[in-house]
């Protein structure tokens, strides 16, 4: 780190040396070295599965390293549990919020460390302390609001407040921006700068490089379980950083020439879906996807995307509206008949809807295609055909596995996803419903998945793509719609839209129709 000389000799708040952790089946940490200087924002970047989370779990006392040492403020530590880490001043803000919705901010913050006053609880002191912390770090959190009423960004600030309340001096933020829209990200970074200014140290885990470059003071790159580089933001571009992360040139989501035709494949008119508790979750939803066209749906998670996908696949009943496939009304068709008619489905949660985890690869090849060759012959399963076709998918889609007889649970998420993509692309589908097709897969697999979607699009496949990755949406869509509270509120041309514009529309801030 040549040009960091302006800052006095590094006094590390956290120093990890030679950390090695062996694990069954996943990339282990081997010889990880990270030095986090006090009062800085230190970013740890790497692909999914590179070993960032494992490293953070080790630092937070959730797992113990097989080798290596951890020093906090110069002291050698040996954390047995997160409680030890907390005692040493380390706090973790998890990617998934751990808040009770029906509690107030105050109650959530004190949960687990309730201030006792005799038999009762001393909320007064806690409220003072929370207001104090909130003001000091500019978090702007009202202790008496119900968490249920808070937006995602506010909830995250409550999480941060929670760890500060417990006296953390070193904050670990695990992919904090994954759930935020661009505007919220800016707010978060503002908060982080204030925390830093107050002398706190922040360890920031991410794979979004623009963000890392804008907020971090130092960056450590993790690849395949080991630290491959330490850089400072001024010295590298996002692209160089990405290439360090992947170890090679980087794929870009983009569509080449338009393949959109005039043939409407999937038409949705005035779709209405009501949840089991009677709430309207989708309303007045209409769109058409033509053969060879990708329609991207952007939106903050929980605005009806999951319901839309399930309604299209016949998993969730409609309260109104019409869905037609290649001109034929499919409202009355069940899921199997829709699949038979050529609808392919990449579910959002592959473990819940896409796979039989304890079944073998070839059995998972059959799943969802129980009525089609080469999996079946009449009412019988064609084991030979299914196995042979699984071998084909494994080869064509580069599924990393020692064989097709192993349980799919033993593969990594990216390889599981590749098998799902290969399966769903089989049998010449006419419409693909893809929910987060590249979620949780590494960059190499991501490029391959994009390529397969591009290829299928050229073959006149109509694709509905839902994604939280705005770059993916912009790069891979022919048209973009924004879903907000169960309605399509805006349409954009992906060639001209920026992530910021999309972000505004997703939160309902910029009402462009």
């Amino acid at each position: 780190m040549g040009d960091t000389a302006v800052i006095p000799p590094p006094e590390y708040a956290v120093e990890l040396k030679g950390i090695t952790k062996r694990f069954p089946g996943v990339v282990a940490n081997s010889d990880i070295n990270v030095g986090v200087r006090s009062g800085t924002v230190h970013a740890l970047v790497g692909e999914n599965g590179a070993g960032k989370s494992t490293l953070m779990k080790i630092l937070y006392g959730m797992q113990r390293p097989d080798e290596g040492t951890i020093r906090v403020e110069g002291e050698l530590v040996d954390f047995q549990t997160p409680a030890d880490a907390i005692a040493a001043g380390i706090g973790m803000v998890h990617q998934h919020f751990m808040l009770a919705d029906n509690f107030t901010v105050l109650e959530n913050v004190v949960l687990g460390t309730e201030p006792k006053a005799g038999m009762g609880l001393d909320f007064k002191a806690a409220r003072v302390k929370i207001t104090d912390i909130s003001a000091r770090y500019g978090l702007g959190v009202d202790p008496d609001r119900l968490v249920d009423e808070l937006g995602v960004g506010e909830r995250q600030r409550v999480e941060i407040l929670k760890v500060l309340y417990r006296g953390a001096k070193i904050l670990i933020l695990d992919e904090p921006t994954a759930v935020l829209v661009p505007q919220e990200v800016d707010e978060l970074f503002g908060n982080l700068r204030e925390l830093k200014a107050e002398g706190l140290t922040i360890l920031f885990i991410s794979h979004k490089l623009d963000e890392v470059l804008s907020v971090a003071d130092d960056i450590t790159v993790v690849r395949r379980g080991t630290t491959v580089a330490s850089v400072v933001p001024g010295e590298v571009t996002a692209r160089q950083l990405a290439e360090l992360m992947v170890g090679s040139a980087l794929p870009v989501p983009e569509l080449r020439e338009s393949t959109v035709t005039e043939t409407p494949m999937l038409e949705v008119r005035d779709l209405k879906v009501t949840s089991s508790d009677g709430r309207t979750v989708l309303e007045d939803l209409s769109f058409t996807i033509h053969a060879g066209e990708v329609l991207g749906i952007a939106g903050v998670e929980g605005n009806g995307q999951a319901e839309l996908v399930e309604a299209l696949m016949g998993i969730r009943p409609l309260s109104g509206g019409h869905i037609s496939l290649a001109g034929k009304d499919i409202n009355k068709l069940n899921t199997r008949k829709r699949r038979d008619a050529g609808m392919a489905y990449i579910p959002e949660d592959r473990h819940r809807q896409g796979l039989l985890l304890e079944a073998t690869l070839w059995e998972n090849r059959i799943l969802g295609h129980q009525t089609k060759a080469p999996n079946v012959r009449g009412p019988l399963i064609d084991r030979k055909g299914a196995r042979a076709d699984t071998e084909r998918i494994v080869a064509d889609y580069d599924v990393r596995t020692p064989g097709i007889e192993v349980a799919i649970a033993s593969l990594s998420g990216g390889n599981q996803q590749k098998l799902i993509i290969g399966r769903e692309m089989s049998g010449n589908p006419v419409v693909l419903i893809a929910s987060h097709p590249t979620r949780g897969v590494d960059v190499g697999a991501q490029a391959a998945i994009w390529e397969h979607i591009r290829h299928a699009r050229a073959e006149k496949l109509a694709v509905l793509m839902i994604s939280a990755d705005l770059d993916e949406l912009i790069g891979m869509s022919d048209r973009l719609s924004v879903i907000l509270r169960g309605k399509l509120v805006a349409e954009y041309d992906p060639k001209s839209v920026t992530p910021e514009e999309l972000g505004s529309a997703m939160t309902g801030a910029g009402d462009k129709v």
Binding site: R352, L356, A359, Q370, P379, L380, T401, P402
Partner: protein, 372 residues
């Protein structure tokens, strides 16, 4: 791939064998504590195996146990707990006995009579189990609750029908009552076994056939795939196009039909009528055997044989002054230890496989490949 399958076969056996050894040791301990010699008991049991009568009775018990286990296993594969096999087979056996013993059957050819009796039993069993399936899909009633209740209802229905005013006649020479005896043309003859006065049930072949069909259905048919998929992950099955409600009803009907067969070997091979002394409780034994045999067609066959033998051995123990309840303890301990052992092995196997996949890939992939 050979390595995987060999290991998995070994692991598959590890659980039941380990659990059996553990159960035997525990029983030996109990025997020692209660002042009996385990060696003596083992000696007695080994001797009894060699007796032809024990062999025949063990095989016959195993036949009915096996059918019962298959009925339970069909439900288990779907994560449905059909506790009602007991009621289903008793009601089915009684109705089948009434049909089989009815006077109009006398004129029909033997094959047709037997077939009709068996079909009636399957239908009655299916209907009785189907009620639980129907309640589950239309009203969301847990099949556990409804099948338990239906057991009680079946008991009452059988008691009501088994009355001289309705389906029953007095059994000559006793104060027992039962359905009209099935005459010779409607019976299934057994096999002689040298040295034993009782015969091996002819319907032992029915059990073998049912076992084969069960295996075939699960592993070779689309229906079986849907059934297994639903059991492994209902949400994934739904997304794959399985109509879960239909599958629930279908599997309950199948389970009930198999349950209807449970009483047939006894009815057509030995009792020839459904009387008050017709064996009961076989449905519950089936649950234990399905657990012990891991719902596997061959595994359950071994479990049924073991169970049948232990039952017979308990009689021998009584004679030699060892309380026969030791066998019940042994059976209980076996089931408990097997269930625990399976879970342990299952987890170990998954971890092992993950590790193997990890190492297999770790040695074959280079960074260049990963980023390709």
């Amino acid at each position: 791939m050979k390595k995987f399958s060999l290991r998995s076969a070994g692991l598959g056996l590890a659980a039941p064998v380990g659990a059996l050894i553990f159960a035997l040791l525990l029983c030996a301990l109990i025997l020692v504590i209660t002042g009996h010699s385990p060696v003596e008991v083992v000696d007695q049991m080994v001797k009894s195996v060699q007796r032809p009568r024990t062999v025949v009775n063990s095989l016959n018990s195993a036949t009915t146990y096996y059918l019962s286990a298959v009925a339970v296993a069909i439900g288990f594969k779907m994560r449905l707990f059909n506790i009602g096999v007991d009621g289903q087979y008793r009601l089915a056996a009684m109705m089948a006995a009434a049909v089989g013993g009815a006077s109009f059957m006398g004129s029909l050819p033997s094959f047709l009579r037997i077939l009709m009796t068996i079909v009636v039993a399957m239908l009655v069993g299916a209907v009785w189990a189907g009620i639980a399936g129907f309640l589950k899909v239309t009203r969301g009633v847990s099949e556990v609750i409804s099948t338990i209740m239906l057991n009680a209802v079946a008991t009452a229905v059988v008691a009501y029908l088994l009355n001289p005013a309705r389906l029953a006649v007095s059994v000559a020479g006793s104060n027992n009552i039962g359905t009209a005896p099935i005459t010779e043309g409607g019976q299934v003859p057994g096999f002689e076994y040298p040295g034993s006065s009782s015969k091996i049930f002819g319907l032992i072949f029915l059990a073998v056939l049912v076992g084969f069909l069960y295996w075939f259905m699960l592993n070779r048919t689309r229906f079986g795939f849907d059934l297994k998929a639903t059991g492994l992950s209902e949400s994934a099955a739904v997304a794959s196009g399985v109509n879960v409600k239909k599958m629930i009803v279908a599997s309950m009907l199948l389970s009930g039909a198999a349950a209807g067969l449970v009483g047939m070997p006894q009815l057509l091979g030995a009792s020839h009528s459904y009387a008050l002394d017709f064996p009961s409780g076989l449905g519950f034994t089936g649950i234990a055997i399905a657990l012990l045999g891991r719902n596997h067609p061959v595994g359950m066959a071994f479990a049924a044989l073991l169970w049948g033998f232990l039952d017979q051995a308990s009689n021998v123990l009584d004679i030699s002054g060892v309380p026969k309840e030791i066998v019940v303890i042994m059976q209980g301990v076996i089931v408990l230890s097997v269930v625990i052992a399976y879970e342990l092995v299952r987890r170990y196997r998954l971890r092992l496989e993950q590790r193997e996949v990890g190492t297999a890939l770790g040695t074959t992939t280079t960074p260049a490949e990963v980023s390709a």
